[in-house]
Every structure is written in structure tokens, then in C-alpha cells.
């Protein structure tokens, strides 16, 4: 039994090795909020990730090196945006991935937003979400996701435990 368990340990080498070279985060929040909106005007599922600039700044330095500069460099922002995009996935109840397209990113005050979208299938009843962004870097990163459909919100919390969260979608009027 023990051997089996040990055999399955996996180290998150890429992020945490780099983390050890960082000084302790100065007043980092290590919290993000994502809104997944079923937009009836566009027929799309819109994914809007909101990170604190401060977190993103430390993350890009850890991942892409000390020269990375989230406020000063569009390249750094693009890198961060692609990094987030790769670590967020959605699957329908059939287990098939919903193909998200990266729309872009922007800084707004204290926040860095990353946008993606996918066409909304008609018959979606549940969503399985994966949100690993910054969690591979900082194990205490907390990502909160609100799924908004027809005025109802269902939440998924990505914090330490568990990689996937399935949310049952509110069904609109028949």
C-alpha cells in the first residue's frame, strides 16, 4: 500500500523550484476571481479572469525571469495571459472540452484581466472546470469562479484541494 502511494507522488517542479528563488511575496493577495458568463446577447460563454497586478507581477518574474514587468511590458502581459489561458479549461457533461479562444487582456487599476470565450452549446447542463493558474506556482493561491447563467450564480472554488470542479448549470425557462 505504502509503495503504491509513494509511487504516485508527483512534484510540481516547474513552479515551486522557481518560487524558492523569490523573496516572500510583499503583501500579495494570491487570490483571483473569474466570471464565466453565458452571454445571451452574443451566444458565447465569456471567461473573464481578474488577477491582482501585484500577484501577476510576482508570477511573471517567477515564471519568465526577473526582467518580466507586468505594468511596463506588453510582452510580459501577453506571456501571463497565455499562461492563464493554458491553465483554464471547461468541459461539458459529455466530457468534451469547450474550445476557448483567447480574446485578450487589459490592466484596469489594481487588476489585470484576461479574456477568453467559446460558443455556448445549446444543451449544456453542467460544466467541469479546471483552473490551475498560479496554483502550480503558489499552493496557497485561491481561484474563485462564478458561473453566471440566466441571472443565477454557481460558484467553484479552486483552493489547494482538487483540480476539477463540476458545477450544475441553472436551467433557463423551458
Amino acid at each position: 500500500m505504502m509503495r503504491g502511494l509513494f509511487a504516485r507522488w508527483r512534484l510540481l517542479v516547474a513552479g515551486t523550484l522557481l518560487l524558492t528563488s523569490l523573496t516572500a511575496g510583499a503583501h500579495q493577495q494570491k487570490e483571483s476571481i473569474t466570471r464565466v458568463l453565458f452571454n445571451s446577447h452574443t451566444g458565447n460563454i465569456e471567461v473573464m479572469h481578474r488577477f491582482f497586478v501585484h500577484d501577476a507581477e510576482h508570477a511573471v518574474k517567477a515564471i519568465f525571469g526577473a526582467d518580466a514587468d507586468i505594468l511596463g511590458s506588453e510582452i510580459s502581459r501577453r506571456h501571463f495571459s497565455a499562461y492563464v489561458h493554458e491553465r483554464f479549461q471547461m468541459r461539458g457533461q459529455d466530457g468534451l472540452s469547450l474550445p476557448l479562444t483567447l480574446v485578450g487582456h487589459e490592466i484596469e487599476g489594481r487588476f489585470l484581466w484576461v479574456y477568453a470565450e467559446a460558443p455556448a452549446p445549446d444543451d449544456l447542463t453542467s460544466l467541469t472546470l479546471v483552473h490551475d493558474a498560479l496554483r502550480d506556482l503558489w499552493p496557497d493561491q485561491v481561484n474563485l469562479v462564478n458561473v453566471d447563467r440566466d441571472g443565477k450564480t454557481t460558484s467553484a472554488l479552486f483552493a489547494g484541494a482538487g483540480r476539477e470542479v463540476e458545477v450544475q448549470l441553472h436551467q433557463g425557462p423551458e
Binding site: R10, L11, A26, G72, G104, P139, A161
Partner: protein
């Protein structure tokens, strides 16, 4: 039997948690129910108005400590003489002390109870198993575990003796220690006792402890150098309070602490080449500082900008060479609730006197200590931010009460203690050896210094208990730090806007703000952002600045150097403003409701004159304005003639006199109606008829649950607009749906709730009547997307030749009126 007891306990705790009154019929919810039945009863110690009562008391604890830092073994060894004064009316038979270092023992409650991958544990947990994926553990967590395995952590406590040398029995319970007194300690009496202690200091980057050491192995000195940030480092008396008794709740790492005020004399022995920053005032500068350093300190008192006490060059030489032997630094601090310090040979030290005036503390020495790894950022901004914080916070509360205010750079991201704060921002070394920092890092430094220095006011002076109510210092302080930030540079985005907390407040993963700190799910939005927004709304929207600022300052004045609870804050804010805010505290602090008000419908009304010659014709016009039956319309379009049209002979009296025809019967009734009116009724009717105002009934629903004022922007048909605020009290008798009559002198075109996003309303679309499609963030982004400078094809555009624009020939010799008339000529 045991089952029965358990059931009984559950029942008892259930009834204790719920109010005595209960709505047992219907679904009415009293969102305005007074809080007093949920708040602790007022008594002689705390008044019903939120003020310290006539019999208010708090304990006093004085410390005399000798401590030695061993740099090589990263170990502290000390002895402490404690003088405890019992000002409570109670007789104490034992005392409780906090042993925070025991939190790092492998058998601590914090360690043993930490769930695998529990994100609420401050530090570095691991990833859990899920589905078919293997479990994973981060290298950071491995480092933490290895450090804890390799080092004996927690306190070593020696014998406890009283001032007469008698051994006092003590019992260690996790992070607490009970000392049993030889004789009961009665009111007004003091007891002195001594104990020795020692512990191995944790490496902050490995363990995350709000303090600890950081090793710099690359430094020129053999073995490198170390920065020590030393806090929660001596056995500290737990607070004994009128509202909780002993605050002897285990330290789990999250909820911080509250302590007693007292006076400290601390002798700190460190390597001779170290510079020490500490709570208090240095009492033996001649023994530890050079003549030059003392002279610079003197000069700094009146300086207009920070003066280096230890320059960068001196610090660099210091950290390269090292020296042997030790020096003892003596610090004294009066009326502080804790004591922390920092020590390193790497420290650059700058200082500037801040002359705040007043009687309390006319001169404060603002000082910063940092290694070269913080330069050139720290010398430029740290001490400046310290002074700026005091300027702004004092205006909102009281004069800074202590002789020093310090900011120290080390491995801790941000943490506060009396007179001293630990702040983390650093700079990056480039290949050419210079050090640079990003704009973001600059903002972080200024922001974190303001925040941590702000904590010296809340909770280091206004002594709230962070282990119970984190929001009382983090929330109030975050609210104030954004004020101070805006006054530093308004272009920097400091402010937490109400809209920023909407997604958190909508989410299913949250707990009320009034939740014990260790049980809070997401501390950032719960204890910092949401209370900040609540206070901002109170100040800017509900009370207005004058009322809010007066009450907030009164709260600070009342509880300066005392121990407030949430009830004292809530009650003071109500008592000093004269505004019932119980609905606000209830909604924002005691529930997880969010704000979502919707304007569902507007009815347009017109007053009947009762005069049949006017009213009957109005009815006729209303009827005529209605669409005719679709089939009749289609018939008419086909040119189909009606029977009545085809057979005019069939017409009679009623074809000439419709149902709105007025007869003298109605006119007589009208006359009788007027005659029957009282004089005042007739006057009122006549005036209303004459004014012929526009009457509208607006129907609102409260979808989020939280009752809030309804801030309306009325847009009139003539293009003008007007603000009309409906107080939250409109929801008093129905918190789900209400109607409001507006009597206006102009015709209404449209209405918006909360047009400036002041109230954290979650759904903006239903704030508009008629409904307006509010584009999502992505839609807005995509519209603006291709217009930004980054979308120019500069590779192509750069080939463009420069054109010269000559005034065109207008025929009459005059200059063309606009550039479009000019003729641009491409040079050959």
C-alpha cells in the same frame, strides 16, 4: 446517556445562537430588526452607546527582558521579568501566556489539524488527490517540512519563579501556558514573576511565520549574512478581558492576536556589527552607535528629507567584513501592546524627524532599515511613506502616539507591531550590477508601508482582537490606507471600488464578515476588501463625509489605548451620527447577502379632476389611443366596409353620443361632490388639478437580499436629469419588493438605479428602465480592441512619406477655413 447529553448540548447551543424571537408565520424578514438583541448587553464596562463605561478596566503588564541573538545557530535565548497588574474586579488564581513559537512544533494543534492541502492555513500546503490524478506536494511544502524536521522548534521554557524566588507551577497547553499563582491575585494587586526561555528561529521563507530569519549566502562575508525579524518571540501575557475572560484561544497561524498594554525595557545582545531596529526608543546610543551615527541622528530630527545614519557604502563594508564580539542595545517602550525588533549587519538606516505638533508626541522619528537588495527603492520611498501615513491617519483618528515609526525590509511581506513594521518589496539586480525596480514594485512598497504603519493605529493603539475579528483592524486599516494612498498620488489605483467586491459577494463561497478569523474562507475579500467597501459606502453614500468622519474619529478617540469590540464600533457610529445603521451592520457584516436592486416597472399616472367634462374626454382619448383589433385593422386595410358604413340608416343616438358623453346628471354629481368636500379638501384638489403634475409609481425588487438605499438618476423627456435618493428604510416592511410614488413637474423619459456604481450592485442591467443592454467586459474590450496603439501596422506605416500642407487657393486670396480645404503636396 451520552447521546442524551449530546442532544441537550446541541439544543442549548442552538437556542443560544438564535434570537429569542422568531417569525413563525409567513415569510416576513425584518432586515431592520435592531441589533441590540444580538449584541452583548451594555454594562458598566461598555456603554450602550459604544463607549468605555464608567467601570472600564484593562490589565497592565510590564516586561523587563534580556535577550541574546546567536547568529550562527539562529537562536534566541532570554529571560523575562514580568510585572502583572490586575485591574479587573475579579480575583485571578492563574495567568495565561501566549507561546506563539509553539505553533511550529510538529505536534501543535495547527500542524496536526491542518487538512491536506488546506488553503486556509497560512503557509505552503500541498495539492490533494482528486479523480484519477495522483496527489502532489509542492517543493515549498517539502522545504517547510524538512526545515521543521531538521530544527527543534517551539519554546524551551525554564523554571517560573515569583519575585520572592518561589517556583510557580506552570502547564503548557499548545501555544498557551498557564501559570498557577501562589496566592490569588486580587483587584488592584500586582505580581512579579520571572522565567527563562529560548527557541530556534524559523527561516521565514521556509515556514511563513510573520517573522524569522533570511540568509544571504552570496554575500562576501564568510558564511553569508542574515536578516533577523524577531516578533512573537517572548512569552506574552494573554489578554484578560471583560467580554471574554482570558483570550486563551490556540494560535493556529491565521488569526493574529491581542495583548495587554504595558511598559517594556529590553536589552538585546547581538553581534557587535549588527544594527538593531526595535519597538521603543534606544536608551544607550553611546554604547552601540558611533559618534558620527549619533550626530547624524541628531541632524535627522530637523531634516527636510531622510538622513542616512548608516549609508549604503557603510552597510556594504559592514556586511563584507564582519566583526567579533557582541553589543547590547537597550530599548524602552511605554504603553505598547507588544514588542518586536530586527537585527542585521546588512542594514542601511535612514531617518527623518516628523514634527506633527500637538501635545501627545510633537516629534516622531520616522526611520527605515533595509539591505542593498532594497535599493534604490527604499531610500527614496520608505521613510517618506511612513511620514505620509501619519499625516493622513492622524487626521482621521488621533496624533501618532509613539516616538518612533519604523519600516524594516526583510523576508516578511508585510506585518505590523508597535512602532515597527516589516515590509517585503525588493529590487532586481541586473547584469551590469545595478539594481532596478518596476512601477508595480514601487507601488507595492508605498502601499505596504502605508498599510503596515497604519496598523500602528489599528490595532496596535485601538486594541481590537484580530484572532476574533480580523476585519476590525484589517478592514478599518484597508479603508484608511486607500485614503492615504489617494493622497499620495491619485493616479495610482489604490482604492477598492464597490464594484470590485461584486463577484465575491455574489459567490457561494463566503462567510459573513462577523466570523472568527480562523474559520474565514477567503480572508482577503472577507476581512479587507468587503469591509473597506462597506465603510466607503457609509462615508460617501449613506452618511456623507462630515457625519462619517466625525463618528469614525470619535470611535478612534474613545478606544485609543483601549480594547473595543465590534459592538463598540457599531454603537459608536450610530450614536455619533444619529443614524440608525442596524440594517447596514446586519446586512453587510452579519449575512452573506449581496446587493442587486432591480427597477422592474414604472406606471405613469394622472390625477382625475372629478370634473366630468375633463375626465370623460381623457378616458375617450385613452380609449382612442389603444390599438384597434388586428382583424378590424386588416379589414380596413383590405378596404372592406363595415355594415354600419354600408347601411347608414341603421345609425342611431348612440352612434352620435359615445359612452364618454357627459350629461348634466354627471355635472350635477360633480357639483354635489365639490359641495360635500371640506374646505381643505377642496383647496388640495383644486391645487393638484391646477398643477397637473406627473405621477409615477416605480416598482423595485431586491434580488440580492441586502437592503440598500435606492439611488436614482431621473432622466426627463426634455433632456434634463435629477438625482433622487430613496433611503434604505423603504425596504423596512417588505425587503423583497417595494413601490415608490414620485410626483414630478416634468415628463419622465428613463430611470437608472445607482448610475455611478456606488453600492456594489451586482447586476447593472436591471438597474435601467427601460432596460438597456449593458455590454459585458469582453464585449467592451473587443469593441475598443483594434483601436489601441498596439494595433497600428507600424512596419507598413513607417514607409509613409512626409507630406507638406500648403494653404489651398480659395480664389479670393483668403486662407482656407479648415484643414480639409488645405492642399497637401507630396514632395518630389
Amino acid at each position: 446517556m451520552s447521546k442524551l447529553i449530546l442532544c441537550l448540548l446541541v439544543l442549548l447551543s442552538g437556542s443560544a445562537a438564535s434570537a429569542a424571537t422568531e417569525q413563525t408565520k409567513g415569510s416576513f424578514k425584518d432586515t431592520f430588526r435592531q441589533l441590540d438583541e444580538d449584541l452583548p448587553s451594555a454594562n458598566a464596562y461598555r456603554t450602550a452607546g459604544g463607549e468605555p463605561g464608567h467601570a472600564y478596566w484593562q490589565q497592565k503588564v510590564d516586561y523587563d527582558i534580556d535577550v541574546t541573538l546567536d547568529e550562527d545557530t539562529r537562536r534566541l535565548t532570554g529571560s523575562v521579568a514580568i510585572d502583572y497588574t490586575n485591574n479587573s474586579p475579579d480575583t485571578l488564581r492563574f495567568l495565561w501566556l501566549q507561546l506563539d513559537q509553539n505553533r511550529f512544533r510538529s505536534d501543535s494543534l495547527a500542524e496536526r489539524s491542518a487538512a491536506f492541502a488546506d488553503p486556509s492555513v497560512r503557509g505552503v500546503p500541498a495539492k490533494d488527490m482528486e479523480g484519477n490524478a495522483p496527489p502532489a506536494i509542492s517543493l515549498a511544502e517539502l522545504r517547510r517540512r524538512q526545515f521543521m524536521d531538521d530544527n527543534e522548534l517551539g519554546y524551551e521554557i525554564g523554571t517560573v519563579t515569583d519575585s520572592r524566588g518561589r517556583t510557580l507551577r506552570h502547564k503548557i497547553v499548545g501555544t498557551l501556558m498557564r501559570i498557577d499563582l501562589a496566592e490569588p491575585l486580587r483587584q488592584g494587586r500586582s505580581i512579579g514573576f520571572n522565567l527563562d526561555f529560548a527557541f530556534n528561529i524559523v527561516e521565514e521563507d521556509a515556514v511563513s511565520a510573520r517573522s524569522g530569519y533570511e540568509h544571504f549566502p552570496e554575500d562576501a562575508r564568510d558564511g553569508g549574512n542574515v536578516i533577523f525579524l524577531i516578533a512573537q518571540w517572548f512569552p506574552r501575557l494573554a489578554a484578560y478581558t471583560d467580554y471574554e475572560g482570558w483570550t486563551n484561544k490556540e494560535f493556529l497561524g491565521r488569526g493574529e492576536f491581542t495583548l495587554e498594554f504595558g511598559d517594556y525595557t529590553v536589552d538585546i545582545t547581538v553581534p557587535a556589527d549588527h544594527i538593531v531596529s526595535s519597538t521603543g526608543v534606544l536608551k544607550n546610543p553611546e554604547a552601540v552607535l558611533t559618534r558620527e551615527q549619533r550626530s547624524r541622528l541628531e541632524q535627522a530630527k530637523n531634516a527636510e528629507q531622510p538622513v542616512f545614519i548608516v549609508t549604503a557604502e557603510e552597510a556594504l563594508a559592514n556586511e563584507a567584513e564582519g566583526a567579533s564580539g557582541t553589543k547590547t542595545w537597550r530599548f524602552e517602550a511605554t504603553n505598547v501592546r507588544d514588542f518586536a525588533w530586527a537585527s542585521s549587519r546588512k542594514f542601511i538606516w535612514d531617518a527623518q524627524g516628523y514634527r506633527q505638533g500637538g501635545d501627545v508626541q510633537p516629534l516622531v522619528m520616522a526611520m527605515s532599515f533595509y539591505p542593498k537588495e532594497g535599493e534604490p527603492l527604499w531610500s527614496k520611498y520608505s521613510t517618506a511613506a511612513v511620514i505620509h501615513t501619519m499625516r493622513v491617519y492622524s487626521r482621521f483618528s488621533f496624533d501618532y502616539p509613539y516616538p518612533t515609526a519604523q519600516s524594516v525590509n526583510g523576508p516578511v511581506g508585510g506585518m505590523e507591531y508597535p512602532m515597527i513594521t516589516f515590509n517585503g518589496p525588493r529590487t532586481d539586480e541586473q547584469d551590469d550590477g545595478t539594481r532596478t525596480y518596476s512601477l508595480a514594485e514601487k507601488r507595492f512598497l508605498v502601499g505596504v508601508v502605508i498599510h503596515e504603519i497604519g496598523h500602528i493605529y489599528f490595532p496596535m493603539t485601538v486594541n481590537s482582537d484580530e484572532r476574533q475579528w480580523t476585519w476590525m483592524d484589517e478592514g478599518l486599516n484597508s479603508f484608511l490606507d486607500s485614503m492615504a494612498g489617494l493622497e499620495w498620488d491619485p493616479d495610482i489605483p489604490w482604492k477598492v471600488r464597490p464594484a470590485d467586491v461584486v463577484q465575491y459577494m455574489k459567490s457561494e463561497h463566503q462567510v459573513p464578515i462577523m466570523t472568527q478569523s480562523d474559520s474565514v474562507l477567503q480572508l482577503g475579500p472577507n476581512a479587507y476588501a468587503k469591509p473597506t467597501v462597506a465603510l466607503t459606502i457609509l462615508r460617501e453614500t449613506i452618511l456623507g463625509r462630515e457625519l462619517f468622519d466625525f463618528a469614525f474619529k470619535e470611535y478612534a478617540r474613545r478606544w485609543r489605548f483601549k480594547r473595543p469590540t465590534p459592538a463598540d464600533f457599531f454603537r459608536t457610529m450610530e450614536e455619533a451620527t444619529g443614524v440608525d445603521l442596524d440594517w447596514f451592520w446586519r446586512g453587510w457584516f452579519y449575512t452573506t447577502d449581496h446587493v442587486d436592486l432591480s427597477l422592474d416597472r414604472i406606471w405613469k399616472l394622472r390625477l382625475d379632476t372629478e370634473d366630468p367634462d375633463i375626465d370623460f374626454d381623457r378616458r375617450r382619448q385613452e380609449e382612442a389611443a389603444k390599438p384597434i383589433h388586428p382583424s378590424a385593422r386588416a379589414n380596413s386595410a383590405e378596404g372592406r366596409r363595415t355594415w354600419v358604413e354600408l347601411k347608414p340608416g341603421i345609425r342611431d343616438f348612440y352612434d352620435e353620443n359615445d359612452e364618454y358623453t357627459v350629461t348634466n346628471k354627471e355635472r350635477n354629481e360633480y357639483k354635489q361632490f365639490l359641495a360635500d368636500l371640506e374646505d381643505w379638501e377642496r383647496v388640495a384638489l383644486e391645487r393638484a388639478v391646477q398643477e397637473d403634475s406627473h405621477y409615477y409609481v416605480l416598482e423595485f425588487s431586491n434580488l440580492g437580499g441586502l437592503v440598500m438605499p435606492i439611488l436614482l438618476e431621473l432622466e426627463f423627456a426634455d433632456g434634463s436629469s435629477e438625482r433622487y435618493d430613496i433611503p434604505a428604510e423603504i425596504w423596512r416592511r417588505n425587503h423583497r419588493q417595494v413601490k415608490k410614488l414620485l410626483v414630478l413637474d416634468r415628463e419622465l423619459g428613463s430611470v437608472i438605479i445607482d448610475p455611478h456604481w456606488e453600492t456594489a450592485d451586482a447586476d447593472v442591467e436591471n438597474n435601467h428602465y427601460p432596460r438597456r443592454i449593458v455590454p459585458s467586459r469582453i464585449e467592451v474590450y473587443k469593441r475598443a480592441e483594434r483601436e489601441g496603439p498596439e494595433f497600428r501596422d507600424i512596419m507598413q506605416d513607417i514607409k509613409t512619406e512626409l507630406e507638406e500642407c500648403e494653404p489651398g487657393d480659395t480664389g479670393d486670396g483668403s486662407t482656407p477655413a479648415s484643414a480639409t480645404e488645405a492642399e497637401c503636396v507630396r514632395p518630389q
